[in-house]
């Protein structure tokens, strides 16, 4: 169990990509992601095929490779948010 305040990293990324849906799909394929669709604007929701679902450390390699793409201006590996139904 992660300690209080410790981040739990998922296998998903939020990515800002210029060039539209096609470009997002191309980059997703190139880096072994599945494009889970547009969040809003130029932000896309990617899920990696091989990165473990939950981890206490971020996956730097995947992140850096994705960030190296000229069309990617921002990317963030997503962390788990603890949410409760009310």
């Amino acid at each position: 169990t992660p300690s209080l305040g410790q981040k739990v990293y998922t296998n998903t990324w939020a990515v800002h990509i210029t060039g539209g849906e096609e470009e997002a799909n191309r980059l997703a394929r190139k880096h072994d992601f599945i494009n889970h669709g547009n969040i809003f604007g130029d932000y896309y929701h990617f899920r990696h095929r091989r990165v473990v679902k939950r981890s206490l450390s971020e996956h730097r390699g995947t992140h850096i490779r994705l960030h190296r793409e000229p069309q990617v201006s921002w990317a963030e590996q997503q962390v788990v948010k603890r949410r409760k139904k009310r």
Binding site: T10, W13, A14, N38, H45, R83
Partner: protein
Amino acid sequence: DIYSEPADPKFAQQWYLYNSNHRDLNVKEAWKQGVTGKGVVVSILDDGIEMNHPDLERNYDPDASYDVNDGDPDPQPRYTQLNDNRHGTRCAGEVAAVANNDICGVGVAYNAKIGGVRMLDGEVTDAVEAQSLSLNPQHIDIYSASWGPEDDGKTVDGPAKLAKDAFLRGVTEGRGGLGSIFVWASGNGGREKDSCNCDGYTNSIYTLSISSSTQYGNVPWYSEACSSTLATTYSSGGLNEKQIITTDLRQKCTDSHTGTSASAPLAAGIIALALEANKNLTWRDMQHLVVRTSNPAHLTTDDWRTNGVGRKVSHSYGYGLLDAAAIVALAKNWTNVGPQQKCVLSLVSEPKNIGSHLVISKNVDSCAGKPNFVSSLEHAQAQLTLSYNRRGNLAIYLISPQGTRSTLLAGRPHDYSSEGFNDWAFMTTHSWDEDPRGEWTLEIENKAGLSDFGTLTQFTLILYGTASSSGGPSTADSSQTTDGSCKTYDLNQICTECNPGFYLFQKGCVQECPTGYAPVTTSSNPFDNKVNSVLHPICLSCHSLCLTCSGTGPQDCLSCPPHSHLDPVSNTCLHQNQIQRESPDGGLDQQVTGVLSGILRSQHSSSLPAVMAVLSCAFIMATFVGVFGLLQWRSRGLNKLYSTDTRPGSIMRSG
């Protein structure tokens, strides 16, 4: 045109929609006005909705639905033996269960379109939240969310980058620019003494935060009190008190839906009725309507207070129970409120010791004379950065110039974090429509430990509102604008000059200037080449030091805001504890009139440890010098003794 009551078998038991004792949400009277949610689209952001439920199927809207968890358009919940994922389906039925189909009961807006986003049943991330909150914003009118960070009394959590952006995009671009409407369940952490101000979703200015009442009008055991709650609906929670009837998973019907989860969708349904009555309402109009029409009657709590504009408001209920008939009636004739102004005032930017009690009072002019001037308040935020060894021991209060006291944070005994607050914008709705000019007071108080310590490093007051009390029923405002009183209009049909006997006030003419404004006659040269000038009677804002005035200068005060008194000789308002005053130079026109004695007390008490330290040091030094002197004296004596001993083998000792 002829109203007929729904014939659904459970309708008679839906006590919260209509009740002969009038302890209800007055929904039947709203239906009688001809609104049932037709043409309005609501989406439930939760664990999915059972789209083939017989009581939802006819109103189901695939364009208001999505499965963010699996990335497909089907929001059907995942079925488990314990029916863990029934939440969204229950909420959906409250909004839009179909009427007159012999199944279960009815939704508040039984002709509205209903969809669901499956986003809670899986890993929730910033991207998942943002994608849900911004699903199809030109199609979906209202998003209803009955979830949030843990209500454990120790969590402080709010939307991260993308979700925050989603709210902002929603209110600025959604519904063709009128703004998406986000309805939020205020929180179930009552037993843990949680505060909904520590939940960044309910505490957001972009959400309508809805709390609960039991059937008999009491505060439910799970209810959280906080100043960001706007209004309340029934959802019970008390023993032997009836709960909410709605659709349930596996095509069933339940009469035991409860919690704040049961409150938010009822509110979403009522808001859908108001939106059908007037499709031009903006997201802010809706909040104005809720504030004006919610009803405190029948709700029991000991914290009802009357705010500066005469409205009763409570930390448990906000402005009271939503009244469907009243909000629909007011919505029909509502004129959009003016553009939102945002006045940001940095009131503390240097560290201040909190100690056991810190009080900071500042006089503000709400950006008077600037384009972002706020004279009629909507939300107010106190954005704080502070450290404290035990966060849960703190209570924080904000008092408006009209004397409305909001509890921004009550003590949270389970919150033992030492993280403090980092740029946390505590929000209050309690001063809605008040004039924010005058003295604001922030109080930080230690509720428990004697040895607690911490520092306030930043206090920014953010005032949202309008530059006038614009907006309202289209027939209203007659007190401000008198028909036929305008002499000259510009090309945009905005009045630029009034007939004799009237004063120009904002975009209209008034016979008397409202409180806080002075009648002034300004002259202007209508044509550049002509010498004779034209006199324009106009209402201008009083100086920030005055409450009412005869002119716009600081020496024209007729009365003063609280904590100031009028000097009858100079006609100026003097602060009771004024110790310093910054020059009004620099065009800011913001007089920062001193720090109250509370701060002095606080600073005084905060200097005590330093004094103690200095005295201790002095005592140690004196002791050291004394001991040193004593040893010196003794060694001299011994030296003398040994120097006389000349026997072999004698030892020479020195100090």
